[in-house]
Symmetry: C2
Subunit: 256 residues, 2 copies
């Protein structure tokens, strides 16, 4: 008897068939989604080293063998060239294209990095009854550049980018204990309270995503964000690289 | 007023001056000691990937920038070419020399890996009153090749090598809970009980180190061992690499 595909497999196959080309959140509940960064092999050591030196924003789920588009550990049988709904192609640090596959871009020289994203810890927060304001408000999570420098590696460097979720002090403590259990999904918060202490001037003007309401009695709580390695890769101005398009993630077989 | 050097700094300086050329255990209590592997830059991505794919035997403490002998994170000011008491030079997978420095070997192309070792969790076991038999008996820890294959990366592959410490079942459970807190020092055991289940034929004939007594009521408890990446690097037959000599570790500034 043939086994039915899991929701993760089904979504990947729908991406491959181009019947699913939209964002991925909500489509395969319970499965870890991942950020994708593809770099030429000659930059792969520096990028892996950047991730190793900055594990909070860059939790490595898997790195593929050069030229091999299959993530054997996290989704055997999947193809990273086709199984995401939408990609971004970068040249010299600028987005030049947003294709639905990498078939014309992937070479024997390509190395893919799958990095943990915040959806996993957000699911755990929601399950614990803690607020995730941007989900409540139907917005994108607010993201901010900080004055905390990442540890550089080769040509990769840049500031730590954080995401923010407002919480009461008690909720922040509970969220810290929960997120600590998910080091592959950015782990515990890196800061709470005064935004200026980490170089954020205007909490109502995020650098990316949308501003969300901070209610009376709440403080902003900040987590290391998966946009950090993308920002470092962008800043490195590689002649070529590819990433997922924002919100259009790779869905792994890993259970949250 | 000039600050006195710490015990870790003092030991490193004694190595540099060649007044300390023996093993390091016991000389800087409270400081994490590390395995050293130095490979040419062209193999550094594959070796880092091997460590990333096999974190239990290969917990990465730090990777240096190519050509830079200073481990900026774990021991600022130290020099990995001189601050270990003894090294091994490998050519095509064979030890050809055991010098007291790497000054004549280190090049602009050298990348150093510092990997966590078992001394840290052994100190925690001893502190908790748990037995560490080879220390009791004044022997080297017994090590065994298993039938568990590491995840390969490029030319690096090989079996998981484990170290063994006999304990009662209750002690094994306590040791598991303690070691879980030290992922940078191999973490929780990977097996306990029947040695044959992981391909070990003769528990009284370790592949490296010395056999130790297993008393009535005790079972062997197995941890992933830092010899694993050395074995993989040896098997890769790199034209050149360097490691620490067994027991002659790098002492970091990290507190255990």
């Amino acid at each position: 008897m043939k086994q039915l595909p899991s929701k993760a497999q089904a979504l990947r196959l729908a991406c491959r068939a181009r019947t699913h080309t939209g964002p991925t959140p909500g489509y395969a509940p319970g499965y870890s989604q991942a950020n994708l960064v593809v770099v030429p092999q000659q930059h792969a050591f520096d990028f892996l080293l950047f991730c190793q030196r900055n594990p909070r924003p860059c939790p490595v789920l898997e790195v593929t063998d050069p030229g091999d588009p299959q993530p054997k550990e996290t989704a055997p049988g999947a193809d990273l060239r086709t199984d995401l709904p939408r990609y971004r192609i970068w040249r010299n640090g600028e987005v030049v294209e947003e294709p639905t596959d990498l078939l014309g871009h992937w070479t024997e020289d390509s190395v893919a990095f799958l990095l943990g994203c915040s959806f996993t810890f957000e699911a755990a927060l929601l399950e614990a009854g803690l607020p995730v304001r941007h989900i409540e408000q139907g917005k994108n999570v607010p993201m901010y550049k900080t004055n905390i420098a990442c540890q550089p590696a080769g040509r990769f460097s840049g500031p730590l980018v954080v995401s923010m979720r407002p919480m009461t002090p008690g909720q922040a403590i509970e969220a810290t204990l929960i997120c600590q259990r998910f080091p592959q999904s950015h782990g515990a918060p890196i800061h709470l309270g005064d935004p200026e202490a980490i170089g954020i001037g205007r909490i109502d003007q995020p650098d990316e995503g949308d501003a969300v309401e901070i209610r009376r009695g709440e403080m902003p709580v900040f987590w290391a964000c998966g946009v950090t390695p993308q920002a470092a890769a962008k800043q490195a101005k590689l002649p070529w690289m590819a990433t997922h398009a924002p919100g259009h993630m790779f869905v792994t077989d890993l259970r949250e």
